[in-house]
């Protein structure tokens, strides 16, 4: 793929030494604080921050950094706004659905603060373009959602000597810290290796409480502004853990690993690598295609049911998903299948399904190994059923 690093750019940022009267009024609540003042506000105006990801974490980051007067904001994302984003990605409105996220974010942020320069990069962050993209910015803020990109952002920041304001979330728990400070640790010091794909929580265990990225992204925005102002104690060397259910913040010591292959005394990684390979994720389709099982399409299933064929519909999703919508199936969550397999009649024909077809493929694979022969996977799951057979079944 061609590397596109030319930004869609706003007004060029010069090195500002003054604020206009309108800016003085806009930033007056900063200016009257001795910790910011005119000097700090000019530092903000002359700062350049690159946000990787404009989604859940990127939303409060973009809004607060733009509002605070960060002079140049870069936004990297290749995604398009969809309806499921609006539960937490508060930069976007309903009318933005279908628009590129970078474009929708630019409109929102430049209406919030027309005095700042917003550069959008509608591209995937890759090993080929990361260094080029990062080099013009002072601080990189990692708001991505996958392991390959997290290691890529870390390594590129270390190679260029730039701070990386890190935040990540899972359901109702968040982690925040600052990597890449001269004496501080990096992401690889904390986690030398990513989890193998099979041990990453599946979609049945995923999801995120909408406010959580708002809180974690706001903490990242605060750390970014402190770095720009040179004020306070940065989170570098500390890992902040936030548990929203318990409403507890905890802090752990984060040490620089002297043997770190990236930031240690003897660096062994001197250039960006293939992060998908490093994380054990190969190619675009890899995670979905590792189990090959016999399938039935939604249309075939519909016509067989209409014909009155005796089919046992096995729904391997979780009970809370069954409540959202179902195909009148018999619910046995994938995780319970091994100990509930005796509930199934191997002489009957079984069609297993889940939301997208992935978990049910695992279920079919498991049942075939357990001796079931008449078993099929509903191709594309409920999502495909809704598209191809019954649009009244909601997609989620």
């Amino acid at each position: 793929m061609a590397t596109k690093v030319q930004p869609m750019t706003g007004a060029p940022a010069a090195n500002a030494t003054t604020l206009s009267n309108e800016e003085i009024l806009r930033y007056s609540r900063h200016l009257i604080m001795p910790e910011v003042g005119m000097e700090g506000q000019l530092k903000l105006k002359n700062s350049k921050v690159l946000l990787i990801g404009t989604g859940g974490l990127g939303a409060p980051l973009g809004l607060y950094l733009a509002a605070a007067g960060v002079g140049r904001l870069g936004l990297v994302d290749f995604d398009v706004v969809d309806l499921t984003n609006l539960q937490r990605q508060v930069t976007f409105g309903s009318s933005d659905v279908g628009k590129p996220k970078t474009e929708a974010a630019r409109e929102r942020l430049s209406s919030l603060n027309p005095d700042i320069q917003i550069d959008t990069f509608e591209t995937k962050l890759t090993s080929d373009n990361a260094l080029e993209l990062f080099k013009d910015f002072d601080i990189i803020v990692d708001g991505t959602d996958n392991f390959p990109t997290r290691y890529l952002v870390n390594d590129a920041c270390i190679l260029l000597g730039k701070p990386n304001v890190y935040g990540s979330i899972f359901r109702f728990e968040g982690q925040v810290t600052v990597f890449g400070m001269p004496e501080g640790p990096c992401y690889r010091c904390l986690y030398p290796e990513p989890p193998p794909p099979g041990l990453v929580p599946s979609c049945a265990e995923g999801g995120v409480l909408g406010v959580l990225p708002g809180i974690v992204g706001s903490l990242q925005a605060m750390e970014t502004i402190k770095l720009i102002l040179g004020r306070g104690d940065s989170l570098a060397g500390r890992l902040l853990l936030f548990d929203a259910l318990a409403m507890k913040f905890r802090e752990l010591k984060l040490r620089k690993n002297p043997n770190c292959p990236m930031c240690g005394e003897h660096r062994t990684i001197n250039k960006l690598i293939d992060y998908y390979e490093f994380c054990g994720v190969r190619g675009e389709e890899a995670p979905d295609s590792n189990v090959q099982v016999p399938e039935i399409t939604p249309r075939e299933l519909k016509s067989r049911l209409d014909r009155g064929d005796d089919l046992f519909i096995l729904d391997v999703r979780e009970p809370h998903e069954f409540q959202i919508c179902n195909l009148n199936g018999n619910l046995i969550p994938l995780g319970e299948l091994p100990r509930r397999v005796h509930e199934l009649d191997s002489s009957r024909e079984i069609v297993a399904h889940c939301r997208s077809g992935k978990r049910s493929a695992e279920a079919v694979d498991f049942l075939r190994k357990a001796g079931f022969r008449k078993i099929l996977n509903l191709k594309g799951g409920i999502l495909a059923w809704s598209d191809e057979v019954d649009p009244s079944v909601p997609k989620y």
Binding site: G53, T144, Y191
Partner: protein, 104 residues
């Protein structure tokens, strides 16, 4: 009173949905052994097949990383807190992404 072990969100599903548990243990290794005896499903998420602690799971006694103490031989006493902290990657569209393609 024993040693409190805090179980992180991604692993609670393998620990009877508990967010913490208390064990009697003189070392971190002993505490994790008790934990994985009680919750067998946790074992493969914490340890490799060779029984080594996985590299994407960090363990802390109070606020200190056991890699910089005595690793699994790090002593524990009543009132200590052991935190298990796995790497999490989420940031935006976790639900949709994990079931579709990876992206960078």
């Amino acid at each position: 009173m024993g040693v409190k072990v805090i179980i992180p969100t991604p692993l609670r599903v393998y620990a009877g949905k508990r967010d913490s548990t208390e064990v009697k243990a003189a070392t971190v290794g002993e505490a994790l052994g008790r934990l994985t005896t009680e919750f067998g499903d946790l074992r493969k998420h914490l340890f490799t097949e060779e029984g080594k602690l996985r590299s994407f799971v960090n363990v802390y006694v109070n606020d200190e990383d056991i890699r910089y103490l005595a690793k699994e031989n790090t002593p524990t006493k009543d009132g200590d807190t052991i935190s298990i902290v796995p790497s999490i990657a989420g940031g935006s569209s976790l639900v949709r992404r994990c079931c579709s393609r990876p992206h960078a």
